[in-house]
């Protein structure tokens, strides 16, 4: 294989890896994007909620026997999807008993619209979840075992016997599920009546109240959906990535960067923000030393913030 073909294969492989990674980052970012978009809450606990989702999928797969019942491959995906409803309820409860105290209509008149209390609350929540996880699950990494994570579909060869792309099966399936969940959510938000009430509560809470929309309920639902979506992403990641209770920290930065990159408040923008991060992270290794791949992500992030502060899909709105 000559240098051109080697370089071509490297580029195609990095592109494929970037798309696979970006898809799952996108879904994580959508979860955070919903919470921020509807509630205007910066949730520092989102990474740790994802961690809870990962353990939830793990125990559904192992202890509850989904893996034995459905087989490792199908079981891993079903466990990830079942994590959604469970974590939705968890999110509702968190909102009902904690988050609602510092968000919504009751803090509308406070200094900084309650953001100081929200920061402290979500940060505290993150610490409790991570350390509680350490007590409950221990520090040894675990992952959902299936043959999917160490096997690949070979696409190609494209040029004679050369230039093939290997698509990891677990990541490939995770990408498809991510796209499906993100699309379903998009249609739910834009087409359904409940989705419209969420958008109304996000756009102008006071006007929404006058129109008979229960804004607190809309916020609760948004927090539940945001938690569930990120948890499903976590469940999918758990099928190929080893995790421990501090894993949330590895992803929360990516989530924030993705949401800001895509445009604060834009759900579709959050998905594409995550996708861009995945692509930059992998493609950067073609031209930069591997240890600088995350630096490349933040250079792109800063460039977008500098050139287009509202994010790629965000709009500048001046409220009346």
């Amino acid at each position: 294989m000559n240098d051109f073909l080697i370089n071509l294969e490297n580029v195609l492989q990095a592109l494929s890896a970037g798309l696979l990674l970006g898809g799952i980052y996108g879904l994580m970012c959508v979860g955070l994007g919903i919470i921020f978009g509807v509630m205007r809450v910066i949730n520092f606990g989102q990474g740790d909620l994802m961690m809870v989702g990962m353990y939830c999928a793990f125990y559904l797969f192992t202890t509850l026997g989904i893996g034995n019942f459905l087989g490792a491959e199908v079981g891993a995906i079903v466990a990830a999807l079942l994590t959604g409803p469970i974590m939705y309820v968890f999110g509702l409860l968190l909102h009902r008993f904690l988050v609602s105290r510092v968000t919504g209509v009751r803090v509308a008149g406070l200094e900084g619209e309650g953001h100081y209390a929200q920061l402290i609350l979500t940060l505290g929540m993150a610490l409790i979840l991570a350390n509680g996880g350490l007590l409950l699950f221990g520090s040894t990494p675990v992952s959902i075992k299936s043959s999917l994570s160490s096997s690949a579909w070979e696409v190609g060869p494209f040029v004679g016997e050369f230039v093939s792309i290997f698509v990891n099966k677990a990541r490939g399936i995770a990408l498809v599920v991510s796209l499906a969940v993100a699309a379903a959510l998009y249609f739910f938000i834009t087409r359904s009546r409940l989705g419209k009430s969420l958008r109304a509560a996000a756009d102008n809470p006071e006007a929404a109240i006058y129109m008979g929309i229960d804004v607190d309920k809309a916020h609760r639902m948004a927090f539940g959906i945001g938690t569930a979506v990120t948890a499903v992403a976590g469940g999918l990641v758990a099928s190929y990535y080893p995790f421990q209770p501090y894993v949330g920290l590895e992803f929360v930065i990516v989530m924030y960067a993705g949401v800001v990159l895509g445009g604060l408040g834009s759900i579709i923008g959050a998905f594409w923000g995550g996708m861009i991060i995945g692509l930059v992270q992998q493609l950067a290794t073609l031209v930069l030393p591997t240890q600088l791949q995350n630096t490349a992500v933040f250079v792109v992030f800063l460039l977008v913030v500098f050139l287009r502060p509202q994010g790629l899909f965000g709009v500048n709105v001046t409220r009346a």
């Binding site: 080697i6 520090s139 990535y241 080893p242 992270q281």
Partner: protein, 418 residues
């Protein structure tokens, strides 16, 4: 105040009896009678991310104490029993140092200690123990531990800078012996944490070239990896004959080995050499499965080999662990070194035990629990064990087994010929 100035009748009586006893039995016999137990310490991470390694170290130390006491304790102290004082090093060098400070202030009669797995912890701990003149044994690899001019630090492992060179030379020799061909090309993948960077420093600075190796790809990454594709794709393109892989996080091992499997480079097709204790833990088997680990070779300071079968069986029975690994074996051996030093010192005094440790020169005793040195235990002027060697361990059939040195090897190394 009155009580202080006027001793009670009971105090006078007790003092009188003690004095009479001293006259009757003489000072040495009284000293012997008073030493019922001798305290030795273990500082290990028992909480936080390295708690598992700390627990393994404690298992080995507990077993050694049990054996010594069952054999009659310290003979030169009239059969005094050994007692283990355990302190938690936690998850940072600062906490480890605090544990050492607590130890020297609250347990003044501890005569020697061992700890604390991570080099950074051991470096912090020994700053405290050296000031307290407390003899301290360690398995940590850092050269710096025994380069500070400390008199009471004793390192049983081959220091890191020697370990890297030894690892590569041994790997090349093994490859040549098993395949008849010495590898000429190598790829290096390591993360940018302290230990792998130190390990590869001299190798990158011309060390590999001197060994006749051409570096065809060289990657340093920031852990944890999100995806190992770019790294393994480079291996696929460069096609090295040998891979030196040094991540520190288990998650990175999983991603790298799984990706190699995806790309058809696993199961020895691309021989992988690594270094460090985490590679031999049962957790990595649980996380990666035996197929992915098959054929992986790693160098390590200590691993059970020939002649330690009985100890290993007893350890497994006592603890329920699937095998004896570096951490419990070292702490078992370290307690045995302490016994020899206390026996030689003839008194439960840390300065005397420190002197004895420096003079120690035994054969067939505690040295049996460490590789090299012809089974002996002796420290040089820096506190490094004389003749220390490394062990090569290879995953074969889901179990990490010693494959080098030949004297300790329980199985032959497997090196895929094509």
């Amino acid at each position: 105040m009155t009580r202080l100035l006027k001793p009670s009748r009971r105090t006078v009586l007790q003092t009188g009896l003690a004095g009479s006893a001293a006259i009757a039995f003489g000072p040495s016999r009284l000293a012997l009678a008073q030493v019922q137990e001798v305290k030795v310490a273990l500082i290990a991470p028992l909480s936080g991310p390295w708690a598992r390694q700390g627990a393994l170290k404690k298992m080995g130390a507990d077993l050694a104490i049990k054996h010594i006491n069952a054999e009659g304790g310290i003979k030169s102290l009239g059969g005094a029993k050994l007692k283990l004082v355990v302190m938690d090093a936690g998850d940072s060098a600062e906490k480890a140092k605090n544990a050492a400070q607590r130890l020297v202030s609250s347990e003044p009669d501890v005569v020697a200690g061992v700890g604390s797995w991570l080099s950074s912890f051991s470096l912090a701990i020994t700053e405290v123990t050296e000031r307290a003149e407390l003899p301290w044994l360690t398995l940590s690899y850092s050269d710096q531990l025994t380069l500070r001019g400390f008199k009471n630090v004793f390192q049983t492992s081959l220091p890191a800078s020697f370990m890297a060179g030894e690892t590569m030379t041994t790997a090349l020799n093994l490859a040549e012996k098993e395949t008849g061909k010495r590898p000429k090309t190598i790829s290096v993948i390591n993360d940018n944490t302290a230990s792998p960077v130190a390990f590869t420093k001299d190798l990158r600075a011309g060390g590999l070239e001197k060994m006749g190796l051409k570096v065809v790809s060289d990657d340093v990454f920031t852990p944890p990896l999100a995806d190992a594709t770019p790294l393994v794709q480079k291996l696929r393109s460069a096609r090295p004959e040998l891979l030196l892989m040094l991540p520190t996080a288990l998650s990175d091992y999983k991603l790298l080995l799984e990706k190699m499997n995806e790309f058809g480079l696993s199961k020895g097709r691309l021989p992988v050499v690594s270094n460090g204790a985490p590679l031999g833990t049962p957790e990595i088997l649980n996380l990666l499965g035996k197929d992915l680990l098959e054929g992986l070779i790693f160098s390590i300071a200590n691993w059970p080999g020939k002649g330690q079968e009985m100890l290993e069986e007893e350890f497994k029975k006592e603890t329920g662990e699937p095998w004896l690994s570096q951490d419990p074996l070292c702490s078992y051996g370290h307690i045995m070194v302490m016994r020899e030093a206390i026996e030689l010192a003839g008194k439960a005094d840390r300065k005397a035990v420190g002197d004895a440790m420096r003079k120690l020169d035994t054969k067939g005793g505690s040295g049996r629990f460490f590789p090299g040195g012809n089974g002996g235990m002796k420290f040089d002027e820096k506190g490094r064990r004389v003749g220390a060697e490394i062990v090569f361990v290879q995953w074969q059939g889901g179990v990490p087994v010693t494959v080098f040195p030949e004297a300790a090897a329980v199985k032959k190394p497997i090196w895929v010929k094509k």
